[in-house]
Amino acid sequence: MASVTLRGIRKAFDRTEIIKGIDLDIADKEFVVFVGPSGCGKSTLLRLIAGLEDVSAGEILIDGRVVNNTAPKDRNIAMVFQSYALYPHMTVARNMGFGLRAAKTPTSEIDRRVGEAAAMLGLESLLQRRPGELSGGQRQRVAMGRAIVRDPEVFLFDEPLSNLDAQLRNQVRTDIKKLHQQVRTTSIYVTHDQVEAMTLADRIVLLRDGRIEQVGTPIELFTCPANRFVARFIGSPSMNIIPAQIDDNEIVLPWMRLPTPPLATRPTDGRIELGIRPDDLLTGAACHSVPEAYRFTAEVRVVEPMGAESQLIVSVGGQDLQLRLMGRLFPKPGERIACALDPAELHVFDATTGVAIGQRHISLQ
């Protein structure tokens, strides 16, 4: 088990800088998820930690030891690849034991550890098959098994679920979480799926364009996004963003005025954006729980029933808003419904910089 520390990590390929200065401390036993849009450098960062690429600047420490010049095999890590990267010409058992065999581990020891990992993952009956004879989910488990057999100090996962169908993905996600609770090995997990990030992570590292946007627990990122990008990225459906103007002591929305909440700072030009999550847009009877000033009526545009709930797009003052309606009853398009903004859940962003300046950020700044 080990901690992982990144200090001022930079990486350039052919003069294009991909990782632009990352500082991060990952504690022993922690499960950290790197999440961000495609191309933001998540895989590159993981490969730097694995030692598959050399850093252009900065230091990587594993267990307090600088490993910049240490070969991947000596970093005591194991990696699960997106494509699983199983050796097609070897049986499952050989795939799993390959690293140990390369390290000249005695055969009896290899057999024991492969057996244990196979039992943990329910792979015993597949040990003599080749990867080509396995289903996608089975291959995924073999890839996990290969990582477990090495008994590493750090697990690295690069989008291990992206090749599975939706149902299997949920199941394996739970399996990974269980596995971590069982073995407690420090884990770094890369994904572009914010649901995976939210459900698995002790802490999420949200990356964009080679930089960290925010680090925190899933709840911190959800309730206290540092900027508009984080706010939109975390949570599904995405947060509604409404352009607005601060005028004296009121926030002017396209269709109504609100009392200004306490703000960390005020943009000089007064241009802000108001953020509200679909779940915090109240409808029907729930509207009465908030002051009159936050209520309005909107026209229903699109209804997407999902069973126990439905997603609605409503329109007011030329602005589309997404909201979520619990229950099996839902309005029809064209109907006008009562809505309200939950004042406790309003997010305020500087329209120019995108930085959050709402009430929750007062103490932080």
Binding site: K73, A78, S83, A85, L86, P88, G99, P131, N163
Partner: protein
């Protein structure tokens, strides 16, 4: 009644004709090798009195066995060398980016455009200055690596996913071990094809072995057989007999390796 499509009929006919055209000279060779000297200029196809006399004669009263050995050593050593070095170079060019790798690849490719006839003079000069004339090594050295093989292997290695090599790096293999234990087993179809090409190319090579050797005991089979064709008389039955024997290794190599080309280990099992 079964419907016979005209396209199929034409196709089969053309293939059959092609096959006959290809196989006729071989049959002629085989049949002639079974005729006695007095019969060979007669026009009937089948020998009147089939005899193995020519075979016994050529194996006992000529250098043929020696030529066969020389040819075999040359072809076998060259093939092993080509398989090893071409795949190593092809792998390096496919999987490592280094300054000038593109130039190296183009340079190797461009050697494919130069015909042997143009190369024999520089080869000869080189062999002479190194003292390799009239030696087995002199026959073999130009064929120890081939531009074609490098190109073929590079293309196949390019299809081996990088993640697989990365997985092996994490598993603790050295770069050569990764090549040997992970990458190479995945391109066996290409290796088999290359082995066939390399073996046949060396087995049938004529011009260079003819130029570089002077002693009859260093002749390869094609050079040796050509030497049977003299200024005043040609032992056709001996040439045909030697040629018949010479096709055996070719057939064996092909039969042994062609199955591999078809059932190579596919790269399935990588994606989910």
């Amino acid at each position: 009644m079964k419907i016979v499509r005209p396209g199929r009929v034409i196709g089969f006919t053309l293939l059959a004709l092609g096959g006959i055209v290809m196989i006729m000279p071989l049959l002629f060779m085989l049949v002639t090798s079974l005729k006695s000297n007095s019969e060979i200029y007669e026009l009937h196809v089948l020998p009147r009195e089939p005899t193995l006399g020519n075979y016994i004669e050529i194996l006992t009263h000529s250098h043929f066995a020696r030529w066969f050995l020389v040819s075999f050593v040359v072809a076998a050593v060259s093939t092993v060398s080509v398989l090893f070095f071409d795949s190593l170079i092809g792998y390096t060019l496919a999987k490592f980016r280094f300054r000038g790798s593109g130039v190296v690849f183009v340079a190797i490719l461009s050697t494919l455009m130069i015909p042997t006839e143009m190369l024999v003079i520089p080869w000869y000069v080189m062999a002479k200055s190194m003292g390799w004339l009239d030696s087995i090594w002199g026959i073999m050295f130009p064929g120890m690596m081939t531009g074609f093989g490098v190109f073929l292997m590079r293309q196949f290695f390019a299809g081996v996913p990088d993640e697989l090599l990365d997985a092996a790096r994490i598993d603790g293999l050295g770069e050569f071990e990764i090549f040997w234990k992970v990458a190479l087993p995945l391109v066996t179809p290409a290796l088999s094809a290359l082995a066939i090409f390399a073996f046949l190319g060396n087995w049938t090579a004529f011009l260079w072995p003819l130029i570089v050797t002077t002693s009859p005991n260093l002749y390869t089979v094609p050079v040796g057989l050509a030497s049977l064709s003299g200024e005043f008389q040609t032992d056709w039955e001996m040439i045909m007999t030697g040629s018949s024997i010479a096709t055996i290794p070719t057939l064996l190599v092909f039969i042994l390796l062609q199955r591999n080309i078809v059932n190579g280990i596919t790269l399935s099992g990588l994606k989910g």
